[in-house]
Symmetry: C2
Subunit: 471 residues, 2 copies
């Protein structure tokens, strides 16, 4: 594979910066992360305007996303300051023969090295140049090389320039935060293939993620590929939740499905219920609500075309009844709600695939067994939402067991869109929601992806004094 | 791929047992693990005799290995009792708008499901039917399906029968510990391909591991493949360590290299030093010591042939001077010590490959730069041993940084053979030492391989009362 000189230069600069950054202490890492947050906030009006011009996501959402991005940077700064990333475990020597007798062992975690980070189309701040992947990698002691997303490449360039200014002001090397400004699939593959890269973080399509994941495995030294490749995010509404304020539930669901024109990785794409008059009424109300919500233009023409084709296939499907009335004419057009029986859903694998955008398929089951079969058939998903499961009877436990098996987050209230950045968060789930379901890309354990344990046996004093600060 | 009926049956039984075992509490898991250790100890004389007849490893080593295996089972029992595996993190709700405002989130870890476990040739107890992989998987809540190793299949059968007796006495399903008794590569591939299997643990050859790893990735749902694929375990002897008792160091090195006829994953295969009269004297003494140690028969004829061919290639190599004098005639024959310059070592990639058995290549470097280049060239290794690095000067720090980069454990005293089973242990390292260098196959964090986080958002009381015991 021939490497584009831009890829080679960016990775070479990251490699040059790697050892010193791996050896930096938590205070230095925290200073960088805090200053990056400050730089974003100081340039807020211009950044939000530029992001809106490229993504059409609107100032309110983009200001909120910038807040979240700064919150993440500062949260990882705080963790770096605490030194918790080193995950140090001490086992003092025990005299006597093995297995109980043992030498002195201390386990610390060390950074993997330069991380290739692929910006997501749908989060121009929070999953881009200075987003959660970058913050968690820098906090872990790894430089990053970001492949900017073509849907907001102008913003990527500006944010990267801001970052470079911060690096200069702290006398840190430019290679700590690299940026690749090439709109080709080849450049992405070359970045993953580069021997200097030691891990990959990716949020995007199943096809794109699979191609990059194969490349990560095909290297002479395979490396971890952390990919978030899509999710249908089922919402199960149990009868108890239908007895409450159905109108309000329909509005909440409609708002979640259409939020950001449905371009969230946790956007609910499947609603499933036991068939009843109440259930059918909810589906009808949901369609009315969605018909009333005008969607903003989608992130790119390619994404819009994908949505239009996905909805067209659902409309054509002989077993799917279209409940929304509006026609999709330009931009994102309108949301879509379709209705299908559980039997028909189970019979056609195509109905389980994500349509990226404001489309929701409602599945009505005739029995609890059928409802469980539908949920199990969904496969790996970032989230499953269970509404009305507060009782804890055998039905609730059974549905929960399946929800837990297929997803990385199970909600009992609210909607899956909106992902809190906390320690307990887990944004990942069985394949294809995540290629590495044991790790998360959101929340403060996201740095675990970039840290490798090393056991130090009978380490001398000079080393233990600095643990876990690498020497 | 057509499945052998034995593979299909074993995995189907494991799947049947999975939900109830995932829902079992720590006390139940601990009871099983403790009883398995007891069963091994009660049958000790017969087990050790059978193991010795198949592996030739000798009663002393096999009794010690059985002790370690029971120690592991009881250690994981103790962890299961404590409930620490659930790794619960609680983030209570915070009022207000995001990003600071958030719902209530609790993160727990849930078992992945049935684990395929491939027994290693060289540890008939500790990496086999009831070895560390099985103990860590059962403790995590996962059934296992063990592929018995043909080098000790009689022992595998007997241990599996013991395990079945324990399962019956505890009224646990037979599928919790399955055993596949088929001596074909196809059976291994079929086991990994089976949709019921959710993770794979493997210790063995690079070629075998790569084939199984590719199969794990080629599934419609890829699964984690935890493979330990070989390691050369460099030992760096710095001048300070040569000034001490050189004769004793030569004896210790020789004992480690020849232990178990060199059939340890942490057997030292490379010795590297700055060239000096002392260094040359140590190499000479090492060869004399190794010539005096008779090796026992190797584990299998295939392994022995591999060793003979590896040594023959070293003897033929124009740049390698053979220092040991004995000829390899039958069985393992004798150990091998060769000497090569750093320049020649760096010029030929073939010299970096592991020769499984009691072979050690000594590399003499003319400068610290060259020594560092040799160490860096080794690539991923389970261990690196640094003797004489107690001062902590710039030289020690520089060599340590490289050691840390290429290995999962860095020793400052003693020899890498013998792996203590503790919390701080890390038995894994950059590829190919491990296919998943963020995880360990020895020590009490080995269960991390089989547990997946799930975030519970606004979980109801009935669920929180049972956390982290799955419902």
């Amino acid at each position: 594979m021939t490497l584009h000189p831009d890829v080679d230069t960016a990775v070479a600069l990251a490699c040059d910066a790697a050892d010193a950054w791996a050896g930096s202490d938590g205070l230095r890492r925290a200073a960088l992360l805090d200053r990056l947050a400050e730089a974003l906030e100081n340039d807020r009006p211009a950044l939000v305007a530029l992001a809106d011009s490229e993504t059409h996501l609107g100032a309110a959402r983009l200001n909120g996303e910038l807040d979240r991005t700064c919150f993440q940077l500062r949260g990882f700064a705080s963790l770096a300051r605490d030194g918790g990333f080193y995950g140090r475990i001490d086992d003092p020597a025990v005299a006597g023969p093995p297995p109980a007798g043992r030498p002195d062992l201390t386990r610390v975690r060390v950074p993997l090295g330069p991380v290739a980070m692929f910006s997501a189309s749908n989060f121009p701040f929070a999953f881009s140049v200075l987003g959660g992947d970058t913050a968690s990698a820098l906090a872990a002691g790894c430089p990053v090389v970001v492949k900017g997303h073509p849907a907001h490449i102008g913003l990527s360039r500006r944010v990267h320039q801001l970052a470079q200014g911060v690096l200069r002001s702290l006398e840190l090397p430019e290679g700590l935060i690299g940026h690749i400004d090439l709109d080709t699939h080849a450049a992405g593959l070359e970045l993953v293939a580069h021997p200097g890269i030691q891990a990959v973080a990716f949020t995007g399509s199943l096809a794109g993620g699979q191609a990059l994941g194969r490349q990560a495995q095909a290297r002479s030294q395979p490396i971890p590929f952390y990919g978030e490749l899509g999710s249908v995010n089922p919402v199960v509404v149990l009868p108890e939740a239908l007895e409450a304020d159905r109108g309000s539930l329909a509005k909440t669901l409609a708002a979640s499905i259409t939020q950001g024109s449905g371009q969230f990785c946790t956007s609910p794409g499947l609603l499933m219920m036991l068939d009843s008059l109440d259930a059918r009424a909810l589906v009808g109300q949901l369609a009315v609500e969605i018909d009333q919500i005008g969607l903003h233009r989608m992130l790119s023409e390619r994404i819009h075309q994908g949505y239009v084709q996905g909805v067209a296939a659902l409309k054509r499907h002989p077993e799917v009844r279209t409940l929304t009335s509006a026609a999709s004419t330009e931009g994102a057009g309108n949301g879509f709600v379709g209705l299908v029986s559980a039997a028909a859903f189970l019979a056609d694998q195509a109905l389980r695939h994500e349509v990226f955008g404001a489309a929701c398929v409602c599945v009505l089951a005739t029995s609890l067994d059928e409802l469980c079969a539908v949920l199990a058939a969904v496969g790996g998903s970032l989230t499953t939402t269970l509404l009305g499961a507060d009782g804890g009877g055998e039905r609730d436990r059974r549905v929960f067991r399946i929800a837990q098996k297929i997803s990385g987050r199970v909600l009992f209230q609210g909607m899956p869109t909106g992902v809190a950045v906390t320690h307990a968060q887990h944004h990942g789930g069985p394949w294809p929601a995540s290629t590495q379901p044991l790790f998360t890309s959101v929340g403060f354990t996201a740095s675990d992806r970039f840290l490798r344990p090393v056991a130090l046996q009978d380490a001398p004093l000079w080393l233990m004094e600095r643990c876990g600060v690498p020497v």
